[in-house]
Amino acid sequence: MKRRSFTSWGTAGLVALCSAVGVSLGAVVRFLTPSVFYEPPQSFKIGNPADFSFGPPTFLAEEKIFVFRDREKGFAVASAVCTHLGCTVGYFQDDQRFHCPCHGSVFAADGAVEHGPAPRPLVWFEVTAARDGQLKVDKDHVVPATYRLMV
């Protein structure tokens, strides 16, 4: 075999080997990425408007959301997941703020960070009235803190 053809075969072999490794790695990553997430749906109904009282927000533990109902302004839904490291925040009626138990982040009633390590405000989710009159929350739709649904 000539030296020239040896080196070009060698290069071709190397390229083939590298691409094989690359493709396999890609396949491994893709394999490990779930194609279906068996997780609670991102969009769900939470009940009739009449189920929610005025005043302090209702905490839905399963969905990790707070449902606010205001006589003038209507409905709003805030996420209870702290933007710092994912602990579940609590709403305290006496100071009208969210407090995170993990590292002490404090969020104002509109979700803005007042204190602590949280880098971003709490998010608000879109809430709409479904056709059957129930309230429907969509966690894939983040809305500004001023968003309200009047029923």
Partner: protein, 428 residues
């Protein structure tokens, strides 16, 4: 018919141990023991040279494998069934809670010992040539130990497990670009749930232990190939010029060969002197006097260390119960929620800045550790010659320990600074 004696001789093929040949053959002919040289330097037995920390780490790993396999007979990686299985292990399975305690306490012990082992290797300068790469392998073993501990933490599926892993995996999520993706791959979802439990289980019982076993083999092999343990620092003399090696000294046209300073730490193998390279004079006559057979001297000490390790873990496991809190409840965060203790230093940083504590500092720490043997080019291993290296590393150790202590003992509800002797009531 073959006599019983011949059968025995077919299994154990070495000479009797009363002879020097038998003592050597015990080492050469045995798969498990051949990682030792036949003879070792007596000075390396000194407790204050290694504190046997590498061995203790390895023994803890053996205990973990044994007790871990035992636990696997009763554990299903399926939420919330896992929690019931843990309860069964705790209260129903014969010796279940004892095995669980042993597994838990040796896991903590291994994290501590691997760190201390790393410190001893640093302070004795044992990462210097030719051992640079064994240090690098060591750093990977250290990270794998943390990974094993972290993945194991989730398996009981109680509140402690759930929230420690939630907080821990969200710290990783802060990594730029790849963070969110990595977190999704690790958890198999967007939050800690059933797929995360299964993934952590597979990593914990199959993937990570296999890698640790492989790397440990390489690690031990290289200790041996690097000429055994480094010499105790108190035996090192101030640097002298490398010995001049001459070949054919009797011939009139005497040729001086290129001088290669011989490493005083290494015993060279035959294959290293056969080609035209200079012959190193490494083991002086007086040093040769100072070596002893691995059997029984080294094995005896290693056996003592093994028994001491097993006994201590058993004793601790008799008296201290591994924690098991209530069933994991994603809706209710315990206050405060803490990552596993060895990550509390990071969590402490994260409580000030997530990006800094979660990404920048740990990445720099790992890269720094890996690079130590290549950054520190000072050839001397004597503490007197490496004051600044020792100061820098000590600072690293002290900062780590202090942050972990603050995070573990001084952080109360809402991550407020609370001394451990003050009890906060009414925290939910």
């Amino acid at each position: 018919m073959t006599s019983l004696r011949d059968v025995w001789r077919s299994i154990v093929r070495r000479d009797p141990l009363s002879t020097d040949k038998g003592k050597s053959e015990l080492v050469f002919l045995n798969l498990w023991l051949h990682i030792h040289p036949a003879k070792v330097k007596r000075e390396n037995f000194k407790l204050k040279h290694t504190f046997y920390l590498g061995f203790i780490t390895f023994y803890l790993f053996l205990i973990l494998v044994t007790t871990g396999v035992a636990l696997m007979f009763y554990y299903r990686p399926d939420a919330p069934q896992s929690y019931q299985d843990m309860k069964d292990l705790q209260f129903v399975v014969y010796l279940g809670s004892f095995l669980r305690n042993m597994h838990r306490w040796s896991a903590h012990g291994m994290v501590i010992c691997v760190f201390l082992h790393m410190c001893r290797v640093f302070y004795t300068g044992s990462y210097k040539p030719p051992r640079q790469f064994n240090w690098v392998i060591g750093v990977f073993l250290f990270l794998l130990t943390l990974g094993l501990s972290f993945t194991g933490y989730l398996l009981p599926w109680d509140q402690l497990a759930f929230w420690a892993i939630t907080v821990g995996s969200n710290i990783g999520g802060y990594a730029p670009v790849v963070g969110a993706r990595l977190k999704e791959l690790l958890l198999g979802g967007h939050a800690v749930g059933e797929s995360a439990l299964l993934r952590f289980y597979v990593l914990h019982v199959a993937v990570l232990p296999s890698i640790v076993i492989l790397l440990t083999m390489v690690h031990f092999w290289r200790v041996r190939k690097d000429g055994g343990l480094s010499r105790p620092v108190w035996k090192l003399k101030p640097a002298a010029a490398g010995p001049l090696v001459r070949i054919g000294a009797s011939a009139p046209a005497e040729v001086a060969l290129r001088v290669m300073p011989a490493s005083q730490d290494k015993t060279y193998g035959l294959m290293e002197v056969v080609t035209g390279k200079p012959i190193f004079e490494t083991v002086t006559a007086e040093e040769e006097e100072d070596t002893v057979f691995s059997y029984p001297y080294a094995f005896f000490r290693e056996a003592i260390a093994l028994m001491a390790t097993v006994t201590s873990v058993m004793a601790v496991s008799l008296f201290w119960q591994a924690p098991l809190e209530e069933l994991a409840n994603p809706a209710k965060t315990p206050n405060p929620a803490k990552a596993p203790w060895y990550f509390l230093g990071l969590q402490e940083l994260v409580s000030h800045s997530a990006l800094l504590g979660g990404v920048v500092v740990p990445a720099l720490a790992v890269i720094g550790l890996l690079a130590i043997p290549y950054l520190d080019t000072n050839p001397s291993r004597r503490p007197a010659d490496r004051k600044w290296a020792i100061r820098a590393f000590t600072l690293f150790v002290v900062v780590n320990v202090v942050l972990i202590i603050i995070g573990t003992l001084f952080r109360g509800p809402g991550w407020a600074l609370v001394p451990p002797w003050v009890h906060v009531t009414g925290a939910e």
